[in-house]
Symmetry: D2
Subunit: 346 residues, 4 copies
């Protein structure tokens, strides 16, 4: 059994990790880290785990944790892991970091968008961007995986094959994304109260959202050259789910059939990507609770644009599920181990 | 007192008309038309009106209705009013049509998008498109006003000044719109059941939504030349509200300040349009229950694009409130009469 | 024009007061009190009021406020008003207190349930319990009105006539109440985050909720003797609304018709109470945004029990609307002034 | 592998059966029965199963089905199974009926509450009421199990031990229940549209709900004598979940500790019942997606009443999960097989 420790186990991503790992056939959770709830029973914080988890929350003692665990998941605020990371830690355990600390290869881009100094840029080169469908082979060999953001996972996987194949003009790419509220985290903020969020929709972080450079860096790899694009997130009154609707101009002569062919070929062996039948739009309800990414594309001949659509569960494929998928790859387990989650509807 | 009749009073737009007209100082409702509920008390269908409305529902007897009413509101399926309209009717009462029958000037465009034959195209030239902020003077003189669609109202008002002023490239205009579920109407469809819609978001009508040509026709007027654009609606799990997020490339040298200046100047005397302070994004919760349109624009210098945003209550400014605003203009009443509705929050 | 000041204007009850008073024909708001937002524009806190309210928030300077205002509404935490109240203040302005400070006549009961010392019990005798339908004449003469709680308003008005008429056994009265989330207030607590409250229902404050003694004290007046009863509140994932379902054993020989007759007679002249038609259950959606109380009663012959049901909007009849109704009575205005609010649906 | 057939696979209970059985280690689904969708791919009806279920929907051919299946689940309208049941069918396959046809032992009670004639009362004696925690041994030997209703499962399990132990007066039992909307089924009814149900709560079926006699019949077994009780269901704007709040007078001298002891002893070996820690109220969010029943009880000394509370997921323990639990017992499988579902939150 692989021994897993979680730092930040009482955030929503951490809690979803617990849900998944509890039923993972090859993993045992040995550390429920939570500064805010040290010594309190974990199941007092999340009562869904009553009678399922007996453990108390522990403090963030990484040196101790790496001695007890084979893998450490950090679902922590930006800057935490970068501030404590060391060669010594990496020699003792593998790390899947759900924060943004090691996602961007260019430390200046990180510091510019996150407004904090990066304390351990020396590990950026080694860290692997944990989008399994794109960087699978590198992940298998990695000690430190940077688990992608929720919006970025959905955005990149939806657009990657079409950018890579050169069927759309990446300079025209506009991503309009919509997220459920769990993406905003569990800290007590007036803006995220039920009565503030319910019965409303808004854009936020317009032109400044931190997932923008992450999407750009990855899709630049697909395009083979640097890209900038528009990314606008919206807050939707639902618990879970991200929907991406993206727009791009078609290269000359490209048809909807061409686009769908490329999607299907690129993803034909992917266990977690479902290219939907022609004309069927992704809906977040069909992936809830699962690690699936539902994708499709339509062409508007009048405007010669492609409309790309993708849907994920932000806490699963957008966070904890993908983290487990990365762990599976890092430890040579079947990639789908513990992740054969059937979407829950309604 | 102006006597008003409503055909289709038991749909959501009809019901909202009743809510507004009941408190309109100059109007009396004389006809609650509803084929489905003939002879049943209107307040049995909508119990919010218990003790407020004593009347029963009537059948759709337009010849009789125009004798009793000064103004007829038709909140009816596409094709209904076009199928019965006549010069005789128009001589006896003014009409505000909440359906799409007289919105598009080009009958071929209508028939192509709505897949039905237009039975009275002879009135298309006379009918006035009832977007008060754009066609105010024509509306004042009209006998027949085509009340705009909900998505179109929000889309056009958000983009009009910038297109008109030539600050954005209208050929790059992409409108990503999000609507509450009341926009889908009150007919019993599995797709609109609570458990189907709740906790999910989806795009629908992609590349084919009927509000597309309506937006194009109007914005072509603003641009002074024909336009095509991308329009994608989404269904959001909330009762009311439409949010439009639109994207367009800036003309060279245009700044955010330029855009905001144009918006503020164009709308400075408009009672129902609120150009928000710099950097503040519209949210549907702030306009719920009111006739307001909240608008703003941001510039993304990295991509040289403008992000235009607008929010309305789909049942008020997107339907019944705008219909009353049109009626006010047609009868020489103060434009805001009966419409000084303070948004309800939370 | 009556000049009104609000202390606690940035809570949900205070905000609803603003919504109602802005359209009250005889009132002008002169003071938007909010400790948390001093000197900030009120419309920055609640953007629904953008272009409707220009004022900034003021601090809680009651001595100054009573010189500028004819009436003071305090939507403040328990203990605030009791801590500052004085004869001098009461001589200069009338007070409608939305907190619990003057609701209970017995100071010991107050201190026992609220766990705080009452700092001005000398005003308890003078204070009038502001349930207009029960204490109308006293309210007209009052300087200090204790505005009832949301649960209590709905519970008392639903049960009062049947208790008063002796048709049910008040010792068997069990009140199972359900509330929307706005009743929990606007302070930032994890428990009230969207993702914590959405898609769930729970009881809370079981056997200990502070509205219990308030209901008991008032219904004891109806019964003519002291009562104890069971009261259990529940949190429902919706913004507004309270539904009360209450159970009581029937006195011998009492029929549903008897109960309905008593309800209808007791409330026949009440502008805000709607006794629904036989067999129709109240639903919170039909009163949203209005000052109505919808009431009905059914009899279960098998168990010889009455099931009493009542629905209100917790922020209107349960808070701000009732406060304005009280003010209307205190100032000799028509009781419905500013309160002819048509319920908003959907 | 046990071969399972589902009649009524496209209702919500049927769909949940599919979700659970797909991951059951010992079961293979061989028949997706749905009259409404014959020959259509099942995954077109529920797109969460895209790439998970390849089968098409079949018609309701029971004689054929029992040849292919070892167990038949009927998630069908009342009267369906009673109308077709025969000794021949029962000899070929085991049946778990999710309808009410075989739940009530007294055919007259069935016909009185359901207003339909029972076509095969000869099987009522043989049929076993499938509440595993109560009738486990009988279920193990059964050919025909009547799967309990959702409200009844939650109500009975919450109250059973206290009634059985004689600690509460069962004649005073009042059950106030609250359900999510999926309990209303998937048929297209205006009353269940999103905009009708959202942002509201109501009681319905007051004094007449069909789960009443089912609760009474079972709790009469616990009491050892016939009982009548009050049962009132409410509709809550959420997808899943049932919360029961029940009230009963305590027998003399009984304490909260006594009640909790009895609950804990009665359920100490039950894998799916969680008696919560003292003072913790059940919430539906903590059981969502799982087969758990969360239970607790509090005592109100002032009124000498017990407040009993229980929470389940109506589609799992209230329908499909319990059906699988019954199947496990009938086939000698571990009772928890396929049901080790961790609650999904948020």
């Amino acid at each position: 059994m692989i021994k897993a420790g979680i730092i930040g186990a009482t955030g929503y991503a951490g809690e979803e990790l617990v849900r998944i790992l509890l039923r993972h056939p090859d993993v045992e959770i040995v550390w429920y880290g939570s500064r805010s709830y040290v010594d309190q029973p974990y199941a007092d914080v999340y009562r869904n785990f009553f009678k399922l988890v007996e453990a108390n929350c522990f403090d963030d003692d990484l040196p101790q944790l790496v001695q007890e665990a084979d893998v450490v998941f950090t679902a922590t605020p930006q800057g935490y892991l970068a501030g404590v990371m060391s060669e010594e830690l990496l020699e003792q355990a593998k790390f899947v970091d759900l924060s943004a600390d090691y996602r961007l290869k260019d430390v200046q881009v990180y510091e510019q968008w996150y407004k904090i100094e990066h304390k351990s840029p020396q590990f950026l080169a080694e860290a692997v961007y944990g989008l399994c469908e794109i960087h699978r082979e590198d992940i298998k060999k990695a000690r430190l995986v940077a688990n992608p953001g929720c919006y970025t996972t959905c955005s990149i996987l939806t657009a990657w094959p079409l950018v890579e194949a050169g069927l759309i003009d990446p300079d025209t790419l506009i991503i309009d994304a919509k997220s459920g509220v769990s993406g905003a985290g569990r800290s007590a903020k007036t803006a995220n109260l039920f009565s503030e969020v319910n019965e409303s929709i808004k854009a936020y972080g317009v032109t400044t959202h931190r997932h923008t450079p992450e999407i750009e860096e990855q899709l630049s790899l697909a395009a083979g050259r640097p890209l900038v694009l528009s990314f606008t997130p919206h807050l939707v009154p639902m618990n879970r789910g991200i929907l991406v609707t993206a727009y791009a101009s078609l290269k000359e002569g490209v048809t909807e059939q061409d686009l769908r062919c490329v999607l299907e070929q690129r993803y034909q062996d992917e266990p977690f990507i479902r290219v939907l039948p022609k004309g069927v739009c992704p809906e977040t309800r069909w992936v809830e609770g699962s690690n699936y990414v539902d994708i499709n594309v339509l062409v508007d001949k009048r405007t010669n644009r492609a409309i790309l659509m993708g849907a994920i569960d932000n806490l699963v494929k957008g966070a904890a599920g993908q983290a487990v998928q990365n762990m599976n790859l890092m430890f040579g387990l079947p990639e789908t181990a513990g992740l054969e989650l059937v979407p829950l509807f309604p």
